[in-house]
Symmetry: C4
Subunit: 329 residues, 4 copies
């Protein structure tokens, strides 16, 4: 009886990844899109179980967020304007907008009065008279308290959400590495801040036929270095294709047949905020070039004593002859 | 003389867990409720030692929180209204609410003036005259500064509190696993956000008789995978019942007699905020089904190139024959 | 030539701890006070190198913080009041505080006008006329913008600062443990929130004579469990006194002569905020009881199905006979 | 066929560090400046790919930040003032600044009215009349909502950004260590707060000639202690120069020829905020003193029962004879 593989014992052990293994092979399928989003549709989450309001308000685009805030802002003020008007002609004292008698004049005065109240400006050239109008002002004042708190928190949270912007080479390559071959891709920080203590995990996903069933397998590929202390220039991530590698002896055609995809998760610490950031991408089999190597990304140092790097060259390749695949002795 | 077991040496070593070991067996007892809360009453914490005010203000329901804020808001304004009235008839200049002579008119004018001040609106149709009223305004203005700061901070902290919503299968099962059996349950992220780098720890708690005393023992169960990189679909957590397992050779009746409970702690990183989130649950012996397996949770992909999952099927089981329990050779 | 000890190879290796090793033995000395603060005076930090303003504003007591904010608030308003008065008699239009001619009337009107401006109330019964007064209002308005931002941020940061409140037993004990002795102390969460994934490190500090010099040595003591998943009840931290232990064969008198101190660092995750919290304490030789054990802390469960703990009993001991110290065979 | 070195197997393995290896040796070059910034110029990041606005607003100096806020503040108000003026003479009612007829009077009245509106003061001695002016007020009120949210968030984020201020000795030294030599430097926390769980990584960077190419190599140096629990006083970080060390048998001249640089990354937890902080520095070959040792940094304890340290002595050295370099037996 054998003990099942444990991740800390066998680093090549397949991992489930939350993608499940019963996924039929489908050469159109890609688990992770190039932008890092997941190609997954989840159903049956239930009504309240989906995105929390906070997640939604944080994740929507700035355009949607600003439109939403504006919409709520105007809806609240229009509602209160209607209620001030409903309090009767004597509830608000002050000059009309269009002159007495204009059909919109009362509503607009009430609307702008509400804006002044909700925005805590309170010029006072229009003022609330009597109990009803004052009660409305009180309610509006409380709503402002919560509304400003929420808006301040949300604008700040959206702005300060920790994100990384990592540039990945368009292609992964199989390139000469020492006296064998290696599976490689190149990445760099596309922002001017510093990332520290950056680690990368690469998962090799492919469809295998087992007992007549096509099942998707996941394997963590051992890397030359899984972690770098600084991430100032570019990092060429290398999986050496040793005899232990699941890629050993494979050709490009094998990868196509297996519907191979290489999933990449990069994590690091943003020095500016000391926060952990993540980035993911994937390489599908048709994005892998066999027999190439990366061109240098370093350029003439712009001034003495500095190192120069041109990030726009991160994708540049040149042909390279692979060493003959050795067999296991 | 033997060295005592160290957790990093013997992963099966019992852990105290902060639950203590002197707990008498009690088949009604459950250490962790299904919703993740703990079945523990702590006494003798002392007056100031219990929940900090911040914890309390963050943990209460939104309903309680809003009622509390409203209550404090109106109490402060009523108090100040009384003080403005106490300053005498000339302290506030401006139109009365109900007309001169109404018994509530002075108080209400002062109350709404306080609202305008506390809310920093300040229309000015009522204004403070003389030293006393102005000093009150000054005090109210300082209280506003702290009050707005606190409310803004609390509303935001309540909203942004990192939480996970994990769906767990109703039952844990003992199912066929490779050529042996395994203790399994299924979990998935019930929100639309992404969780990364998710790890699970399962603790097997049961009452054992030792030197005539019934003591509660805790053992960390080794898992097929203790960590997954992505948590996009469902994850079936498996403890293989090898000869080393404390479950090896046990039957359902043994679990009942031992008052067994399986405690689950799941941790992961919320991709949206790059924050660590936690979730816990437990399986009591009567929630474990012997000889079953989980039905697939995957559904027809709604469109080509995506994977479909129906979370409402996470609990679905079908019967499965267990392999005969092997004996240690 | 031997390789120097590495922490991950020899867990008993002495660590410098940032306390240095050249500290003369001094039986009055205690490195960490019972409340977790450090008994260290640092000089020569330079002017700007000491506490950052933010650290100071966060670490001061609430009393000091509120007094500071009030002081700054009144100072700013008094300064602006003086400047408004300096603009001449026509700069502010509106009713005086004490009537025309009173020596303080102009200053007080200006002061309360400044309060209305700084607090963004702006009743308008006093209003700025002419360029100078309006420029002052503009400046005050900008200061308010920064001031409110700072106060809001600081009040919130002070409130939400992650802290743990851990109760430690008054005494550490040397108690029977399995068939040997163990160095033990007991700790529990003194708040009603949950701490997860709690780990403890214990350092044994003592003065040793080496080459005629008395130097302070630090050793990390291996523990029965260095980490618990849940910290719901109490945790008795145990260092088993095996032949490998630096405590092996020692008596109480040895500890006194060595000026022993046991430093404790506890870390865990606060479930409410998913934040890491820390707590430290220490046990000096005169706080260690030889031949005792902790009384149970569990009480009758207040209702069926729950566990009861009485934290006030965390310090309670009873006598216990230690097994005879075995010699290394 | 050999398996490539894995970091967890061979701690001396060279790491790419994101600095690349194709960098030509250049004795003027320094990868990390003494203040911890990197000597790297990155090009080709693309327009939107450089610093995110948030990073920029957080990283700029306070002087630049305040000037930027003031500039935006005045620009917005000047723009709105021009728009109010464009609404015609009847749009704003209230006393002029310089008297009727002065060319700037209308603009200034509109400007100060805008300040009152944007700052939510709203005295009301100037008030908006008609639709156009009220619409402008509404827009300004919405901008205020976002502006205050942003400013509050940014001021707070700038203030609370987790940073460490670590003092490093000016020189690294090669000093006697036990019966061999060690590469050492000294560091201490230059703030009055506490740092916990501090770890240090030291990378030895040098140019080596391989296959006729000069390539830069990076090696992680094993340290006496890589982590200390407390960082209360000073910490002398030591790399013992054992026969396994890449420094074994090297002289000062070798370091110069190799253009050696020692990169230091220190990480720890700020106790006040329970946040991780980082600090980096480097030692170039001309900052390394051979045959020296650090003078004690401890001073007479200012009062009984405390430890005294004088941080200004952190750089002080005295001569020390190195033991003869042993050869590998």
């Amino acid at each position: 009886m054998t003990t099942p593989p444990r991740p800390d014992i066998d680093p090549n052990a397949a991992r489930d990844l939350g993608f499940g293994t019963r996924v039929a092979g489908n050469s159109l399928l890609r688990l992770i899109n190039k932008d890092g989003s997941f190609n997954v549709v989840r159903r049956g989450l239930g009504a309240g179980a989906a995105l929390s309001p906070y997640h939604a308000l944080i994740s929507m685009t700035w355009r949607s967020f600003i439109l939403l805030v504006l919409g709520v802002y105007f809806a609240i003020n229009a509602l209160f304007a209607a209620m001030y008007v409903a309090c009767g002609p004597g509830a608000l004292a002050g000059p009309p907008i269009y002159g007495v008698g204009h059909p919109l004049s009362d509503f607009l005065r009430a609307f702008f009065f509400s804006i002044e109240t909700f925005g805590t400006i309170g010029y006072g050239h229009v003022s609330p008279l009597g109990l009803n109008a004052n009660v409305l002002v009180t309610i509006e004042s409380v709503i402002t308290l919560f509304g400003v708190a929420l808006t301040t928190g949300l604008v700040f949270a959206r702005f300060s959400r920790p994100t990384a912007r990592i540039a990945y080479s368009h292609n992964a390559i199989v390139a000469p590495y020492r006296d064998i071959s290696g599976f490689m891709f190149r990445c760099a920080n596309a922002r001017n801040n510093q990332l520290l203590d950056v680690s990368v995990r690469v998962l090799f996903s492919r469809v295998e036929v087992k007992d007549g069933n096509r099942t998707r397998q996941f394997t963590v590929l051992p890397l030359e270095f899984e972690r770098v202390t600084f991430f100032t220039l570019s990092w060429t991530v290398v999986h050496p294709i040793t005899p232990d590698s699941p890629l050993f002896g494979m050709s490009f055609d094998d990868l196509v047949q297996m519907d191979a995809e290489f999933l990449v998760l990069l994590s690091g610490t943003d020095e500016t905020f000391a926060q952990t950031v993540h980035s993911q991408t994937s390489y599908k089999h048709d994005e892998i070039i066999w027999g190439a190597k990366f061109k240098p990304i370093f350029v003439e140092a712009p001034k003495t004593g500095t190192i120069g790097m041109d990030l726009s060259r991160i994708h540049e390749l040149e042909a390279a002859e692979l060493p003959p695949m050795k067999t296991v002795s």
